[in-house]
């Protein structure tokens, strides 16, 4: 079992920590160096966590659990109009990104209104490619409840809903979790109460993702997504020159690779692991709904019969 962790500390000697995590069989997912400070998002084997904690203490850094690490979250707004952007939606997306998640913003074409709202098939499929969908709704209790009855049709991933009233999750139909005190806010969220609300949102999403992890652990993927990422980085050199943000985006049970599907899917299928299997034996390689990217979903153990 790997634990998602975030390390914030000085750039000096941080490579020692990276080496330690890699030696322990963990993965470095992201490394951001900002002047003399470094932020590392990593997956650490839970049994060896004490060693990493000791090392980070020696380096005078801060090690915290970041449950959003390694997940791809869709923040969905009813439209891309001024009603929702740039504030609130961007605030939410940015805040979750700071916590280690990769967020994609989705603006629906016909998401407005409580009676007339719709989700197109393309939007539904696109949202379903993520780990969690955060629907950012408005001010009125009645509208949120009415809208929730039909807007999330066909979405199979957990749905987190935000809005102004303080509702119980069970009052909001089809939602996995509900977070109040948001609503339609037209200013940058920077007051202490608003930041607390954002904290609460990331905590709720963290819990939802932990539940997903527990569910996955019952029938684990045949290959861990960070392992796929590492092998792609080593075997497909073009990924190094890729200018997309996070060219290989981790998900709970797969990765999104930002390379054109047609040109690269054969190379992807033939990625070799030292255990002697190729990627196509342990994962499904599909075209993604997002541009012409590649979506790789690891097969569960129950299908392949082994875990590498």
């Amino acid at each position: 079992m790997l634990e998602p962790m975030m390390y914030i500390g000085g750039a000096y000697k941080h490579s020692q920590l990276i080496e330690l995590v890699e030696d322990l069989g963990g993965y470095i997912l992201q490394k951001n160096i900002m002047q003399s400070e470094v932020v590392l998002l990593m997956l650490v084997p839970i049994n060896d966590l004490a060693m990493v904690e000791k090392k980070s203490k020696d380096l005078l850094g801060k090690l915290t659990r970041a449950p959003l690490t390694g997940s791809e979250i869709a923040t969905v707004a009813p439209t891309l109009a001024y009603h929702h952007l740039p504030h609130l939606d961007c605030d939410v997306a940015e805040f979750l990104r700071k916590q280690g998640a990769k967020t994609n913003m989705v603006g629906l074409a016909r998401g407005v209104g409580k009676r007339i709202c719709q989700l197109t098939a393309f939007e539904r499929d696109l949202i379903n490619e993520h780990d969690v969908a955060v629907f950012i709704l408005g001010n009125y209790e009645h509208c949120i409840i009415e809208k929730s009855k039909k807007l999330y049709e066909g979405i199979e991933i957990p749905i987190v809903v935000t809005g102004a009233p303080e509702l119980k999750t069970e009052d909001v139909p089809n939602a996995t979790a509900y977070v109040g005190s948001f609503g339609r806010i037209l200013h940058h969220m920077r007051h202490s109460e608003e930041l607390k609300t954002l904290d609460k949102l990331s905590e709720v999403i963290g819990k939802v993702l932990d539940d997903v992890r527990i569910g996955l652990a019952k029938d684990p993927p045949s290959v861990a997504p960070p392992r796929i990422k590492k092998e792609i980085e080593e075997q497909i050199p073009e990924i190094v020159d890729n200018l997309h943000p996070l060219p290989i985006t981790l998900q709970m049970n797969g990765v999104r690779v930002k390379l054109p599907y047609k040109e690269y899917y054969e190379q992807m299928e033939n990625i070799k692991f030292v255990e002697g299997v190729t990627l196509k034996e342990v994962a499904r390689i599909m075209p993604s709904k997002m541009r012409d990217f590649i979506l790789i979903k690891a097969l569960p153990k129950s299908e392949t019969g082994f875990v590498i």
Partner: protein, 200 residues
């Protein structure tokens, strides 16, 4: 932000009313409309659904003409030109843009910071130039007001709308469904109540 005389948001949903109030405040501040709106009353019922926005306006400054801030005279003797001597430089940019559009850049000279020479027949154009409208704060405020109400405040789903816009008041009624006569009547009523408060 200058406080509005009246600012009421009514709704059966108390939390919704509070958030709507804050979003209207944000929008008014963003578009600096606080001086243009005197009294403001909003009624929202998400169940029906209807959104009524009524406001009394205080339209301040009239439009600014060239003669208000500049001396417009005939140019040098024997030449076809008009000489404009500007007192307040704040309007010069807009004035130049208007003149360039009208006469072309080659016909405008600016020998000094405050002096502009236009190559044109002074007998024909002098009076017209004196009355040239440089700025219409009035119209700009109305544009911003419509931007605020129609594009930012009224919930997006409320696509069926009816509005009345004059120099003294604005009334917007919006809904997701066909507008009902009683909502229109309620809108009028709210507007009338705002007006009567003013008399009191």
């Amino acid at each position: 932000m200058e406080q509005l005389e009246t600012f009421i948001v009514e709704s059966p949903d108390a939390t919704g009313a509070k958030t709507t109030r804050s979003l209207i405040q944000d929008t008014i501040a963003d578009l600096s409309l606080s001086r243009a709106i005197g009294r403001l009353k909003v009624f929202v019922d998400p169940v029906q659904p209807v959104f009524i926005f009524a406001a009394l306006l205080r339209m301040g400054s009239p439009s600014i003409k060239l003669k208000d801030f500049a001396k417009v005279e005939m140019g040098a003797l024997g030449k076809d030109e008009v000489r404009i001597e500007v007192d307040r430089e704040i309007h010069v940019v807009k004035l130049l843009n208007k003149l360039w559009d009208k006469y072309g850049k080659e016909n405008i000279e600016q020998p000094d910071r405050k002096i502009i020479v236009v190559k044109t027949d002074p007998l024909k154009d002098l009076d017209m130039l004196r009355d040239l409208v440089i700025e219409e704060p009035h119209q700009e405020v109305l544009d911003r007001l419509i931007d605020a109400i129609a594009l930012r405040i009224i919930p997006e789903g409320f696509r069926v709308r009816k509005h009345e816009l004059t120099n003294s008041y604005v009334l917007f009624i919006a809904s997701e469904d066909t507008l009902k006569p009683e909502w229109l009547a309620k809108g009028k009523e709210i507007l009338a109540s705002l007006g009567s408060e003013e008399n009191a």
